[in-house]
């Protein structure tokens, strides 16, 4: 039988990364995600799987170590929280441009600036709309439970290698710090160098006699070359949009109104839906699991069925833009959120729903 464990979201990420054959973790501590590296240090995977766990001298160093490891076709990852993720943006842009796979975990805290250490979702724009410079996208996964912290770590690596692109796991302080039941993924051995050469021939593991030289770069001095790179990236993003959308529907079938929320807010809103239904208000919850690609088509479909939508986020209203683009003016879309590290309570959301949408 599968073993059920009780652990924090951050610990689940560390366990899952080791189990799915991650080759290297490079990070710099910051609350509320320090348990990721702490757990890895406790588990000492370098003694079992041979995985490298390294505390870098800074966030900038960490993301560039990931860049280097990813260039060798290795499964590499980093993690941080909001201010630290801002520091990593240059590296992420380079990695996206160089088409390398890696996983970046952001356990969001309240900003802007050094902000607070409490949970927030205010890095939605940064994660989904670019963050670093240039026309690039990351696949962004938004776990809403400790189980998903483990599952999405494995999924993130799979998607990263499938599309040769950075994948972000966008969680927040609640999901990182809380403990829930979790069943960890099975152990997969790390790939050997031969396996990597075979599976990822683009990797720069050292040129063997007779092989052509692999070059990994994000620099093209000729604009024509750079436009080609850009077109290729954009084609890849359209492919991702077509294939990889994930979402969860909760009591949506007969819904007159729809709440759209991800991560912790989706958990809170699930309770709001239950409370509203007790009062006879038919509300459903749509939880985007991938924030890029966004479940645009599904929301478009619900714009035909519902009378209004409420986007609930721990920010001043960011995902609401994507909801509105999908709805395209068909029904009113309003936002409810708390800022700076405060998690909205289920009854607060219910009141907002009544005030703004159910009239």
């Amino acid at each position: 039988m599968e073993e059920v464990r009780l652990m924090k979201g951050n610990e689940a990420i560390a366990e899952a990364a080791i189990r799915c054959g991650c080759d290297g973790y490079f990070g710099y501590p910051i609350t509320p995600q320090s348990e990721i590296m702490e757990t890895m240090m406790l588990l000492k995977p370098w003694e079992t799987t041979g995985m490298v766990v390294l505390q870098a001298e800074s966030e900038v160093a960490a993301i560039n170590m990931v860049y280097g490891a990813a260039g060798c076709g290795k499964k590499s990852m980093t993690s941080s929280s909001s201010p630290g993720i801002s520091l990593k943006q240059e590296g992420i842009s380079y990695i996206a441009s160089a088409e390398l796979p890696c996983v970046i975990v952001n356990v969001m805290r309240g900003g802007p600036g050094l902000g607070t250490i409490q949970p927030s979702q205010a890095d939605y724009y940064q994660s989904v709309k670019g963050g670093g410079h240039g026309d690039y996208k990351m696949i962004v996964l938004a776990p809403a439970s400790v189980q998903e912290m483990a599952d999405h770590t494995v999924l993130a690596f799979d998607l990263a290698f499938k599309y040769r692109t950075p994948v972000m796991l966008l969680a927040d302080g609640v999901i990182g710090q809380m403990m829930e039941k979790v069943v960890l993924p099975p152990f997969q051995p790390r790939m050997t160098e031969e396996e990597i050469r075979e599976k990822y021939p683009w990797g720069t593991l050292g040129k063997l006699k007779g092989n052509k030289k692999n070059v990994i770069t994000s620099l093209a001095l000729l604009s024509e070359e750079m436009e080609k790179t850009n077109n290729h990236l954009q084609a890849k993003y359209r492919e991702i949009e077509k294939n990889e959308v994930l979402y969860e529907e909760f009591q949506c079938e007969d819904a007159d109104y729809l709440i759209v929320a991800f991560g912790t807010c989706a958990r809170v809103c699930q309770k709001t839906v239950e409370m509203a239904r007790e009062e006879g208000i038919k509300v459903g919850l749509l939880r985007p699991i991938t924030l890029f690609p966004f479940p645009t088509e599904t929301i478009k479909k619900y714009a035909e069925q519902t009378k209004g939508m409420l986007s609930v986020e721990m920010n001043a209203g960011q995902m609401i833009d994507d909801v509105r683009l999908a709805v395209n003016g068909k029904v009113p879309v309003e936002h409810y959120g708390r800022l700076g590290g405060i998690v909205p309570a289920p009854d607060e959301v219910l009141n907002a729903l009544k005030e703004k949408i159910v009239k």
Binding site: V4, L6, T31, P32, T116, I117, Q118, G173, V174, Q177, M178, M179, E180, K181, T264, R267, V268, C269, Q270, K271, T272, E274, G341, V343, A345, P346, D347, E348
Partner: protein, 180 residues
């Protein structure tokens, strides 16, 4: 069955570990559990609290605005959370708290744990005394499961302390008294 609990006190009183032991007990009972700590600056000297949910069904929000059971170990926690007990719910407070909720629609219990622990040199197991009181009036977990839960959340090198904790739980079960 679903029990939504918040435990609140000073940092260092063992509030978070008490919640953890409850969560492990729920796990052993085959329930869904969530354990959400306050991990902010309050953990470092101010009031710390933890929300624990034990449920037979999938748990929605780990963050709540009202609770079936509220356990408070200091005055600021009493002031903050007494109004958050659901009507018909349970409020348990430590005997050192002076100003107690005047609510008539909830069950209020006093447990003179801090004073007893100080007198009997049991301050290290204060949280287990409280936990004993809690499971006496809210039978959400058996003593056996709590002890098993404690064993799971305690590193093996501390397992020789288990009998001491069992004694504390039993003490708490006898110490708790209804006040309204």
């Amino acid at each position: 069955m679903k029990e939504e609990i918040i435990i609140s006190g000073f940092g260092g009183q063992g509030v978070l570990s008490m919640g953890k032991i409850l969560a492990y007990s729920g796990l052993l009972q085959g329930q869904e559990v969530s354990w959400m700590p306050s991990y902010g600056p309050e953990q470092r000297g101010g009031t710390a609290n933890v929300t624990v949910i034990l449920s037979d069904e999938r748990i929605s929000s780990p963050v709540l605005n009202s609770y079936d059971t509220v356990v408070v170990l200091n005055q600021p926690s009493m002031d903050k959370f007494e109004s958050k007990v659901k009507p018909g719910g349970t409020l348990i407070f430590d005997g050192t708290i002076q100003h107690v909720s005047a609510r008539k629609d909830i069950n209020i219990y006093r447990i003179d744990a801090s004073n007893y622990a100080t007198e009997h040199n049991m301050l290290k197991t204060l949280n287990m005394i409280i936990l004993g009181g809690l499971i006496q009036v809210r039978p959400i977990a058996t003593v056996e499961n709590v002890l098993q839960g404690l064993k799971k959340s305690l590193p093996e090198r501390h397992h020789h302390l288990l009998p001491m904790n069992e004694e504390a739980i039993k003490t708490g079960m006898n110490l708790i008294e209804k006040v309204n």
